[in-house]
């Protein structure tokens, strides 16, 4: 019994460290984005305490960029809340996709764990669950692996947005170093991991076209919602057709 507990504790540590290692390369994209966001927030008048308060409590970069872009003094609270919901509405789909995989977790663990769910941790945990599941491991979802990833992202995000807030005006344009390309690079590698077949990825292409078109035609963050809905509709229609 005692050994069993020890072994499981050891396995948990190993899984947690596996998450930490998997997340490290991605901080290369997260850190410069955090610096940029912090610098922009400082320019809009947020204090050195308000920057980590926002990024630490919200922990959703896309909505923070959108909110800072719209920030006035005093801020339009309802506008910011609505935009935050719009940009983060993808979390609803993400949480729904995750639900069957974390059904075995008690609610007192699942609810706090979901606070840390972001695009990267979610996609990486989902890919990992599939690989572990295919290797016959039950449950496929590894909570310590997910938490390892999340800790790296959370700490990196809060530290670098704070640094950006502190050193904002001194910092040059990070685009000069091409660091803004890190985000699409990360997302594309994650997509490669989720790829199953050309047919299975057809909805992605529909999403890409719908989101690109919406971005060109409609101001604001609607393109995320439009792209996701178009792709999901395509998946729904395709699922009804014979293979």
């Amino acid at each position: 019994m005692n050994t069993d507990v020890k072994t499981r504790g050891h396995a948990r540590n190993t899984e947690f460290r596996r998450g930490l290692r998997a997340a490290l390369p991605i901080t290369l994209g997260v850190a410069p984005a955090g610096l940029v966001l912090g610098a922009q927030a400082a320019q809009k008048g947020l204090t050195i305490l308000e920057v980590p308060l926002m990024t630490g409590l919200n922990f959703a970069g896309g909505s923070e960029f959108a909110a800072i872009g719209l920030w006035t003094s005093p801020p339009h609270i309802l506008l910011i809340a609505a935009v935050t919901f719009l940009v983060n509405s993808r979390h609803i789909l993400m949480g729904a996709a995750l639900a069957p995989l974390i059904q075995h977790l008690p609610r007192r663990i699942a609810f706090p764990a979901l606070f840390l769910m972001c695009d990267e941790s979610w996609a990486m945990a989902l890919t990992d669950t599939e690989q572990r599941g295919a290797a016959g491991m039950r449950p496929g979802f590894s909570l310590p692996y997910y938490l390892g990833i999340s800790v790296v992202f959370y700490v990196t995000w809060v530290i670098f947005t704070t640094l950006g807030g502190a050193s904002g005006p001194v910092l040059g344009d990070l685009r000069t170093y091409g660091l803004d390309m890190a985000f699409p690079a990360i997302f594309l590698v994650l997509l490669r991991g989720l790829w199953k077949s050309a047919r299975g990825s057809l909805p992605w292409m529909i999403s890409l076209m719908a989101a690109g078109l919406t971005y060109k035609l409609v101001p604001g963050a609607w393109y995320v919602v439009a792209g996701a809905l178009a792709g999901l509709s395509a998946a729904y229609v395709l699922a009804g057709k014979p293979q």
Binding site: L93, A96, L98, P100, F115, V189, G227, A235, G240
Partner: protein
């Protein structure tokens, strides 16, 4: 006001994180619903980066094309470095 805006943002964001899970937990999903769920991750990820694909900047489009071909073959870190490197180089030469 700033504090209120930050707290409201946090509440809205946490709500989006839990309602998909809380609303769909312990439910049997149809094969069709599962197919939609399966497509969801890719659809959302690609929608978030879609603006890059319709950029007007040739340097950004070239860098994106290089990044896509790197992402197909290489692990995370080299892909990120190649993406950032080609974007910086392209902007230096074309910008």
């Amino acid at each position: 006001m700033t504090l209120l805006a930050i707290l409201l943002m946090a509440a809205v964001t946490y709500t989006t994180r839990i309602i998909g899970y809380a609303g769909l937990r312990n439910r049997d999903l149809s094969p069709r619903a599962l197919a939609v769920m399966e497509a969801a991750p890719g659809c959302v990820l690609i929608s978030v980066i879609a603006p890059r694909f319709v950029s007007n900047d040739p340097a950004d489009l070239i860098a994106l094309a290089v990044t896509v071909s790197a992402a197909i073959r290489l692990p995370m870190l080299p892909t990120v470095l190649i993406g950032a490197g080609t974007a910086a180089l392209g902007r230096h030469l074309l910008g």
